[in-house]
């Protein structure tokens, strides 16, 4: 446990400069936008005169110089204050915390599904390289990997929600259904089937391909030959020796893919009208809400850092060769 704590501390310290770079670059990007939040707000309420704009800018601190505002942002961020969303009229942090659970549920389910199914099918394909089963699985995974998730989401909803009417088309749960406990959980699960499938199938294909490629490499190694010469059964060699060594890189991949999956959830949540983090990003873009967009990017960076940290800890637990003294980077 001590090792995990040391790992966490080291990673947290090395993440700070990276996070600062994210904050400064995002700030500079949003700074170059024409017009500020006050302009957007005045436009949305149908205009206002110069004195109103002036007093609003003073109230939000928008009249100060750029470095001063950057400093103001970073120092309030340290106090967990992410600013005020102009379009929603609420604190940015509240909005994000309200939307985040839906997205975490979506991403968590998609990760579990793609990892489980992808590695299982990958083992099936890699157990007999170049067999018919291997070729069929590889071809299917190649095509799945090429399908854009937003289009897959639309096609799935045409088939299963519109034509067959098996599943709901949108939302995270039936609104005002008064459901509680297990029936509510079942309701949410039914709403999540299509978006999770749309998000997960691509990653499933990716994990399948990586597992298969990894196993193809391990088959050639000496210790597999040794296991064979000991007369172990094929199933035992596949599972205990080949697959086990091929799955380790997959764990690392999980961390790397978390950023991509978070980006993918923007489109999926938009298609299935899930009130989540990704949809909030789209709403921030269409509302030209710079503080909200800034907060979303910063929180997503923190989220990805945390996922990678968890992955590192799991990896260190699985692979005893990774010592805590080894420098990360």
């Amino acid at each position: 446990m001590n090792r995990a704590l040391r790992l966490i501390r080291r990673r947290a310290i090395s993440s700070i400069p990276v996070l600062l770079i994210v904050i400064v670059l995002t700030f500079l990007l949003l700074e170059s936008a024409s017009g500020d939040a006050v302009d957007a707000y005045l436009l949305s309420i149908g205009g206002g005169d110069a004195t109103v704009a002036q007093s609003l800018r003073q109230a939000y601190g928008l009249d100060q110089s750029m470095p001063a505002r950057l400093w103001l942002y970073v120092s309030s961020l340290a106090k967990l204050d992410l600013g005020w969303s102009v379009t929603f009229g609420r604190p940015v942090l509240d909005l994000i915390l309200e939307r985040l659970p839906n997205t975490l549920l979506l991403m968590g389910s998609a990760t579990a599904l793609s990892f489980g199914l992808g590695s299982a099918l990958g083992i099936l394909a890699g157990a007999k390289p170049e067999s018919l089963r291997d070729r069929a699985l590889s071809t299917v995974s190649l095509i799945l990997y090429a399908i854009p998730s937003f289009w897959l989401g639309l096609v799935l909803s045409i088939i299963f929600a519109v034509q067959l009417r098996w599943l709901p088309t949108s939302g995270i749960e039936t609104i005002a259904s008064g459901k509680t406990g297990l029936t509510r959980a079942a309701d949410i699960a039914a709403h999540l089937v299509l978006p999770v499938a749309a998000l997960a199938l691509i990653y499933m294909a990716l994990f399948l391909r990586v597992t298969r490629a990894g196993m193809a490499e391990v088959w050639r190694l000496d210790f597999v030959l040794f296991a064979r010469s000991k007369g172990l059964s094929r199933a035992r060699i596949v599972l205990r020796h080949v697959a086990r060594n091929a799955l380790l890189p997959l764990v690392t991949m999980l961390g790397l893919q978390s950023a991509a999956m978070l980006g993918g959830s923007v489109v999926i949540e938009s298609i299935f009208a899930i009130p989540g983090f990704g949809r909030l990003a789209q709403e921030a873009v269409s509302g030209r809400d710079a503080p909200l967009l800034m907060g979303i990017i910063v929180v997503s960076a923190v989220l990805v850092i945390c996922v990678n940290l968890v992955v590192d800890i799991v990896y260190a637990a699985l692979d005893p060769r990774v010592g805590a003294s080894e420098s990360g980077g």
Binding site: V18, L19, F150, W151, A260, L262, V285, A301, V304
Partner: protein
Amino acid sequence: MRLIRNLIRTPEGAIGLGILALLVLIALLAPALSPGDPLKIAARPLLPPFTDVNFPLGTDRLGRDVLAGIIHGTRTSLAVGIAAALAAIAIGLCVGLAAGFAGGLVDEALMRVVDAFQIVPSFLLALAFVSVIGASVPVVVLAIALGAWADPARLTRAQVLSIRERDYIASARVIGMHPVEIAFKEILPNALPPVLALSAIIVAAAILTEAALSFLGLGDPNVVTWGSMIAEGRNILRSSPSLSIFPGIALVVTVVGVYLFSEGLTNALAGRRSEA
């Protein structure tokens, strides 16, 4: 030439090259294949597909020819995908070369920037970038490149670090070659192949990102793209699903072509190495 022969010999490479050649041909000949503006009204709106010889894939809600849109969309998809990948590789090569060659504090600083770009979801970054600067083809290209250069940068740096310790670099130093000359003449050509193998994957990802951006309405409104066609068809998904399905199929075929080509290329390169 031998590389191309090796490429065609693998089934993946042959099919991939075939698909890509066909797509490039369609993109180049788009004005001849379907003359005129694909965004112009051509016939009665919502003509179903496979009913009219002149409009084999039907028309959309405004009466625009779906086939013309798909033909011209090939141009946008390929152009944006390839341009974004080229930009990403160029940035990645420069940053990776600088970091690996300079070492020390410069390396440390550049790699933290690479880290920063890797932990921010690239789609979110592209979304923010396009919405701030305004949607046009060059901005979309740059937005996609911004989210894609970190991987080639990391790979280039790793390559440079392993190459710079080799004997021929030491001898180049001894004979008094300028460090910049060593970087570009001796290290870069040898660091390039694995980065180029990555480029096909970047092209595929760029095509998918462009489609997703224009699906969300953040593409250039003056050019027809597959993503915007899918978004347009989504409004009447229940009554005419084909409007969204056809451009999606075009997208899948394109990306499959790029993947197959990349796999064939990797195999051909590996074959060349083992032959040598």
